[in-house]
Symmetry: C2
């Protein structure tokens, strides 16, 4: 007997630890994920290639969205004039204000494109891997922001206003620590060796077939801390290890 | 004594009748307009050139935003596969559902970019030329949508959350008829001969130094009706007139 085709869900996907876990969570919640990959002028462009390769390997439908946030500027992730911070103490992350890697309105712009795709594909569920704990410094990662976006989105499109669809934004990672996310992902079968977190644009080139991460940007530091706290071996190759190996 | 520098406002600007009037309204409300021009893959790309030329002629600061809504599709304005409707009776516009020229999530995407620019430029006022009367068919032109966007935007950015700015979306045309907009613009000094409304991608090439509009797409029909009802001569050159002239 053929099984019922599964409902599709759009998943904002960067190929990183959080959004890869998200794909598996969407699957475990009985959705067929469609990966939306954003090429927005990030200096760590390698992220996009990792994301695409991973989506293909997982056999997922995926759509690439090309947009230019570089011309807007204002972030160390898109502007050559700002440095990606290195070796920040954990105590500074999240609590000491919004870091320079914050990209103005990025989640709002990404979710707006997701809203357009949702209507064109007839998909009412959108997954986003925002996290309010380990990155409490980003205003567009907070639950009250997502609620307001969802409300606006339900007033914005033909799909919701005329066709009666009820758009839902799912953010299952929002109150999880990195360690909890990693444990959840491992229980679902995620292979974190394939994911890419590093923000530093100078890293990412393959070395003996395996890409090397800086290990020192906020994103690498949070990733390392997450594996350490989860008590799970970190499969990532970081620079120091690569050097000493 | 030097006068106080005026506060800046971002104005979503297409070079059309509504958004050109909007620039003049923003000026009359004591703002210094910064024009945001969107090149989104519209088939009537001539719109962008008109907008740029007009902003330069007015001596305005302007920013071009390049984005790709063509890959999303779903609209006669971005997809070669859908025709821009011609000669629709007035009774069908607005009341008979959402027309094929509707672009999924366009205003949400445009306003999201404006939110990013607002933060980078430190500008708290955004003007958008949406109109709920002559285009009641577009869900993202309604007051309840704009209110929800404004609420979301105030939760979304560093500028509003950390720096205490209060972002305002101004939509002074929302309850005006085309005729009222034209009369308002004329009273402020707008030269409508320089504005471009036509949706048909086959039109717009200069003819004897003056661009020719189709006169038959929804946008041309509403423009003609507006001038007729306002009792103001329409300076636009339409195809039939050009032919017979």
């Amino acid at each position: 007997m053929p099984s019922q085709p599964r409902k599709k869900a759009l998943v904002l996907f960067s190929g990183g630890l959080d959004s890869t876990t998200l794909l598996w969570i969407a699957r475990s919640e009985d959705f067929e994920p469609v990966a939306l990959i954003f090429s927005y002028g990030q200096r760590h462009r390698i992220e996009v290639e990792h994301a695409r390769a991973l989506a293909e390997e997982m056999g997922l439908e995926h759509r690439a969205v090309e947009l230019d946030l570089r011309s807007v500027g204002g972030s160390a992730l898109t502007s050559e004039e700002l440095d990606v911070p290195r070796d920040r103490p954990e105590s500074e992350m999240g609590s000491a204000g919004i870091p320079p890697t914050y990209v103005p309105a990025r989640n709002t712009i990404f979710l707006s494109y997701a809203l357009a795709w949702a209507e064109v594909l007839g998909v009412a569920d959108i997954y986003i891997g925002v996290n309010a704990l380990d990155y409490s410094g980003y205003p567009d990662c907070r639950p009250e922001y997502l609620e307001a976006f969802e409300k606006m989105a339900n007033l914005a499109s033909r799909f919701t206003v005329e066709e009666g669809a009820r758009l839902s934004i799912h953010a299952p990672l929002i109150r999880k620590t990195k360690a909890e996310i990693i444990r959840w992902g491992v229980s679902l079968g995620v292979n974190y060796g394939k994911t890419w977190s590093c923000y530093d644009p100078r890293f990412g080139a393959g070395k003996g077939g395996k890409a090397v991460s800086c290990g020192r940007c906020d994103s690498c530091l949070l990733r390392r801390k997450g594996f350490r706290e989860a008590g799970i071996p970190d499969p990532t190759v970081y620079e120091e290890v690569a050097r000493s190996g």
